[in-house]
């Protein structure tokens, strides 16, 4: 019997209905189907309110879909307990948030090493890995600074380093360039693309900046919670 080839990430019939009030129903996502292979560099774009953040949160197990399933590397994430999801996020998924979301009490280096330490890696390994990733992202000289001592672009690079350093299977970045000027935005995406190429990590990010979208190798477009286009280069 030949093993069934499964795609790396399967998004199956995902719908999300927000219900802020009893009366109101907001369909944020409507029957999304998407498969992503290992090593892809995908952008999710679409106008504001189209459901990009919601989709990324559901893929990463931060939010639950109303319907549908997420299968990551053959493992069904939907329906897992929060404890298990936390473990999967720690070991297999890296997050980059629009608002950087670095831990304010930790230095850049400690932020980058936090997840690796949770994974139980030795101090030396954490050190070596954080330095290596920081060098690729051009922030090696900033490692001992606290987040509030860094600019937005620098913080976002630290956030990318934090997401990538623990060698996750998948990195999810929600509008990582939204708070950056266009030059730093392009630079950040270039760095992420380099990491994607050199480390083979699958990266999915969202954006509505055409310059940034153009850098991705695959572009998925959402509109009103529906998947409208999916173009591969």
């Amino acid at each position: 019997m030949t093993p069934v080839m499964t795609e790396f990430l399967q998004i199956r019939q995902i719908s999300k209905l927000y219900q802020p009030d009893k009366e109101v129903e907001v369909p944020a996502l409507d029957n999304i189907n998407l498969s992503i292979e290992k090593g892809e560099f995908v952008v999710i774009s679409g106008p504001s309110g189209s459901g990009k953040t919601t989709l990324l949160n559901i893929i990463g197990g931060l939010d639950l879909p109303t319907e549908g399933q997420i299968i990551l590397d053959g493992k069904l994430l939907t329906g897992l307990a929060e404890r298990e999801l936390a473990g999967i996020r720690r070991d297999h998924i890296g997050f980059v948030f629009q608002a950087y979301n670095l831990l304010p009490v930790l230095t850049a280096r400690e932020n980058i090493e936090y997840v690796m330490k949770l994974q139980g890696r030795s101090r030396e390994k954490c050190r070596a890995r954080s330095l290596m990733v920081a060098e690729k992202l051009g922030i090696a000289s900033l490692l001992d600074k606290l987040p509030h001592q860094l600019s937005g672009g620098q913080q976002q690079r630290v956030a990318v380093a934090r997401a990538v350093a623990p060698t996750p299977k998948l990195v999810l970045a929600d509008e990582p360039t939204a708070n950056l000027d266009s030059k730093s935005a392009a630079a950040l995406i270039d760095m992420m693309e380099k990491l994607n190429r050199e480390e083979g990590v699958t990266i999915i990010f969202s954006s509505h900046d055409p310059l940034v979208i153009a850098k991705a190798r695959r572009s998925v477009v959402l509109k009103d919670g529906k998947l409208v286009t999916d173009i591969c280069e």
Binding site: N57, L106, L118
Partner: protein, 406 residues
Amino acid sequence: MLFQFALRNVLAHGKRSVVTILLGTISTALLVFSSAWMDGSHQQMIKNAVEIYPGYIQITGAEFRQSPSFEHLLFDVDKIQAEVIDIAGVALFTPRFEAFVLFSVGDKTVGGMLTGINPEKERRVSRLCAALKDGEYLENNDNNQLYIGNELARRLQVKVGDELVFIGTGADYSFAADRLIVKGIFQTGLFEFDAGSAFLAKSYFDRIMASKNLATHGIVLPENLNRSAQLAGVIGRRIGPKYQVADWQQTMAGLVKSMQLDSCFGYITLAIIFIVIFFVVMIYTLLAVFARLKEIGIMRAIGTTPRQVFAILLWESSILGFISVWVGGLIGAAFAWYFCIHPLVFSGMEEQFKQYGLAASAIPSAFEPLTIGRDMAVMFLLLLLSTLYPIIKVNRYQPIEALHHV
């Protein structure tokens, strides 16, 4: 790693940490000192009450305490004395003979207790001599010279040098009466005692009461006051079942009980204070933890499990609690120690104190490391418990909700 992170958080949130530590420190110091003070004043009251007259250890005939009649006397005081004095830990033995008599002056007659004592030894086992108010204390070879309580003297309207008569029954049931001269007047502050007691030197008393070598009870002064109970046991086994040996906790059972009751009320008051502290700490922690909800959301989003978040926050509370308890404990202990060595003197309040049976106006606090340790442990648990609810509450949040919290 979790501990290190907790430590970082404690250090980074300096202001909050300081406030929490301050709260904990003050509460601990308060608890340690107030229980030391409570114990100290109770010990002092008991010490006063015991030392004024009853003594630390009493020896009586086996049934004397149930039926205090002349049939159950100590019949061979010299022999008992020789035996008791030999026991290690006994500093002194002195016999007393108490007899109910009528005192009368002119047309006034008052009932009371006339007791034959050994004045010299009595100086060491009771505070009769120190309670002298007027005239002079007794001496061993005094004759019909009387040392009388000030209330009794007032009722009989006698002063030092005045004469009065007593009528009573001798140890051999013979009729006994004599003419006595007031040598000194005392005031212990125990009203009942001052209103019903008078003393004669036992050598003279024995002659008129036919009580030579007899006593209603004997008092033993232990070398170590804290070991009265053990010593009483040793003496009891040595002198045999013909006698009963009771330490102050038995002879003063009522007082001991009332002190325990008082402690109990004291602890209830403290408990109420601590419930307040508990909620203050809890609410403060709740605010502090919710101010960090976003941070906790980030931790959760990047893979910290709820259990690890719980552990980190609990470590933080433990670090803060640990510091509070030690700093507060040391401050409280320092105060307890200081006031143990330099008892608080309520000057000018001697008179009021005497009415409560306190012959002294200085109250030391107790200094007992074990009690202090207990208080510190209780406080530590209380501080941890008070942060438990906020920690659990904050941990209930889904990471995404926590992240969006501002």
